[in-house]
Symmetry: C2
Subunit: 415 residues, 2 copies
């Protein structure tokens, strides 16, 4: 099961019995579908934290250490679990991989193997029922309610993790996960504060428990907030969004629209000024020779998506504008008919680009003044309009369609 391994089989059989059961969904069945271990972790640990928050003081040193360890364990998830293993966005030397597996376990979000499997399924089945934390089921579901229920292996999508199964260190962490998570999540941070400056209680409550709750919810936001808040600069087919707010709360994982388009790019923030400390860490490790084979998509490919989204937005705007009647849909008029209307009916007409315009409503508003526009009345004013008198702006050319009432029949065609 999620946060602690090797319950997958139990969950599976329970889920099966539910779906096979012929009785209606009873309270008993509902209770049976709950993952009690997760509920205890997700609700019990914060309550212990609350107790500490009220009863134990936080020394400055312990606060700084909690803040630092928050980043260490958070980046264990983002730089380690997520970008290194789930997406293979880069490679790292063994010591780095071991440290990332240890710190990642300190965030207490399950083993790397389990976490990556679900995450790959999330990418593959994004927003569907097969997505383990589908954003289409609501903010809180994708945030952590999904963790409180047993996964139904018939429903949840499959993902290939042959590469992780073949990784001895990932398997080592998976096998010893409870021990490692307990040590890295609670024991180690307490030890540092206790042995370091004698603050055992503060170390336990602040660097251990409360730091753990914070880092859990920070990273959970990648599944909830990152699918709700922000915009879709690369593709709006699915829910992932780009938002600097999410980025700040999640060690840089907030450019999630980018990430679902280019999942094995080691960056989540494409632009240099965007907040992505996980990217900065990987880059730093690269320069230190600790990380290598950093994968990126080319500027060309990334900008294609941006351009297509811009075009999409622009097309939507174009739809909302009245562009006038198409020339082919205008009624036809002969030159004789035009002259008749002008001379006998005193209509205020002119011809521009073979289109008959009725400018009666406009002559007094003409920005170039009454005198000039009157020169064109009853005539073909095309050359006056396009340069002889004044070469009109785009805006003026756009305006013409508001006055078109007919197209002039081509004399040659008539003959």
């Amino acid at each position: 099961a999620p946060l602690v391994p090797d319950q997958e089989k139990k969950a599976e059989s329970t889920a099966e019995s539910i779906s096979n059961g012929r009785t209606s969904r009873t309270v008993k069945e509902f209770l049976a579908s709950i993952n009690w271990l997760h509920v205890i972790i997700l609700i019990g640990i914060p309550m212990i934290g609350l107790y500490g928050l009220i009863n134990v003081e936080c020394s400055f040193k312990t606060f700084v250490w909690s803040f630092i360890y928050y980043h260490f364990t958070g980046m264990g998830i983002t730089a380690g679990y997520h970008r290194l293993w789930a997406h293979k966005a880069y490679s790292a030397v063994l010591p780095v991989r071991i440290i990332l597996l240890l710190f990642g376990a300190g965030a207490v979000e399950g083993s790397c193997r389990w976490w990556s499997r679900d995450h790959r399924a999330h990418h593959r089945y994004i927003d569907t029922d097969k997505d383990p934390y589908s954003a289409s089921l609501g903010f809180w579901h994708s945030h952590f309610v999904w963790l409180m229920f047993k996964q139904d292996p018939k429903k949840i999508g499959r993902a290939n993790i042959d590469d992780l199964n073949a990784d001895p260190w990932v398997m080592w962490q998976h096998k010893h996960y409870i021990k490692i998570a307990t040590f890295m999540g609670l024991v180690f941070p307490t030890l540092v504060a206790g042995l370091g400056w004698g603050d055992w209680a503060g170390g336990y409550f602040y660097s251990g428990v409360l730091r753990l709750v914070t880092v859990q919810h920070s990273t959970f936001l990648v599944n909830s907030l990152a699918h709700y808040l922000g915009d879709s600069p690369y593709d709006d087919e699915h829910s992932p969004k780009d938002s600097v707010i999410t980025a700040v709360l999640t060690f840089g994982e907030g450019y999630h629209n980018f990430h679902h388009e280019f999942p094995n790019d080691y960056r989540n923030a494409y632009k240099f000024y965007q907040y992505d400390p996980t990217k900065w860490l990987i880059t730093a490790m690269y320069y230190l020779g600790l990380a290598y084979d950093l994968k990126t998509f080319s500027k060309n490919e990334i900008e294609k998506g941006m351009i297509q989204m811009h075009q999409k937005h622009l097309d939507a705007k174009k739809e909302s504008i009245y562009w006038g009647i198409k020339k082919e849909d205008l009624p036809s008029m002969t030159l004789d008919e035009f002259n008749n209307l002008v001379q006998k009916d005193d209509r205020k007409l002119m011809i521009i680009n073979k289109t008959v315009l009725d400018v009666e409503s406009f002559i007094n508003d003409h920005p170039g003044g009454l005198a000039y526009i009157k020169m064109g009345l009853g005539k073909d004013a095309t050359s006056m309009f396009t340069g002889e008198v004044y070469n009109h702006s785009n805006a003026a050319k756009n305006l013409l369609c508001q006055f078109s009432i007919a197209k002039i029949l081509d004399d040659k065609k008539q003959q």
Copy 2:
């Protein structure tokens, strides 16, 4: 002549003699082409101001009055000369028109009739040799160097001012311009400070001379800076630009790209949050019943221009992207040839959408992992790629073209 009327004829004859002269351009001719009156006003008055700045103190009251009178006379130009008379963007009751003519004269930029004629020619012949203050001749030329030379009536474009000639108050101001400008430019502001709080010298130098120099250069910026600084959201055929900096310096005339597209719109700032105090003044007068018939272009027409400019920028970006070889330009391949290449030459090929892709360079980088992409090798992977295994994102679809090497010949066509 510009700042003082009725020299037009003299200027004309001088200019003619220059252009008819067969001798080369001598120093004498150069001196003859200078408008000495303007040079004296444009250089002499600031020097008087400088003298005052050094030798006379500015009391707080005088400073406030100078600041207020700066806005009064500036808006006499922008709300009066420019939007009311040159462009007829709105109408106003007689007392307002008289006040605007008086304050406008206080900016000492010539009579309203003269100013509007040149301004209409500026719009009509924008950026050409016929433009009286063409931005194509450089920043300083369009700012005020143009004023220092006599206008060549053969070169400068014509504009129709029948409406202004028919306006008795505009003609009154034109006829008595020197008296009115001297009174409103220097005497009146001095009187207010002198009679008001006994600061005659401060009133003369600060509210008169220095305020006058400031308001002149503020409004000159509409011809210089507004054609240089900023962007072109509506049309980039000509030099006018939109910039908030120019707007702040010119009582709101800085949205000059908008203005040249929609010259008789009473607004220069289209958006409510943009800085256009001249618009605010006109709106206030409208609500007080002092101004009426405010002309605007419709949202529809204004947004057309914005959309077209966006499209233009987007098209330029599209040009800079590599979109792959067009399908019709790819060489053809039969299914037999494809199978041969795969089986005999062990080439890493697959078919998607009737296009043969060589994915050798990509399989290790495939974001969905090695296992899945291998499933498609040697086959038509179209349905795997578009949903059966995973419905790829736009980014993945865009990427395909990087690997295309041939198009598969349609079997039916072959037979």
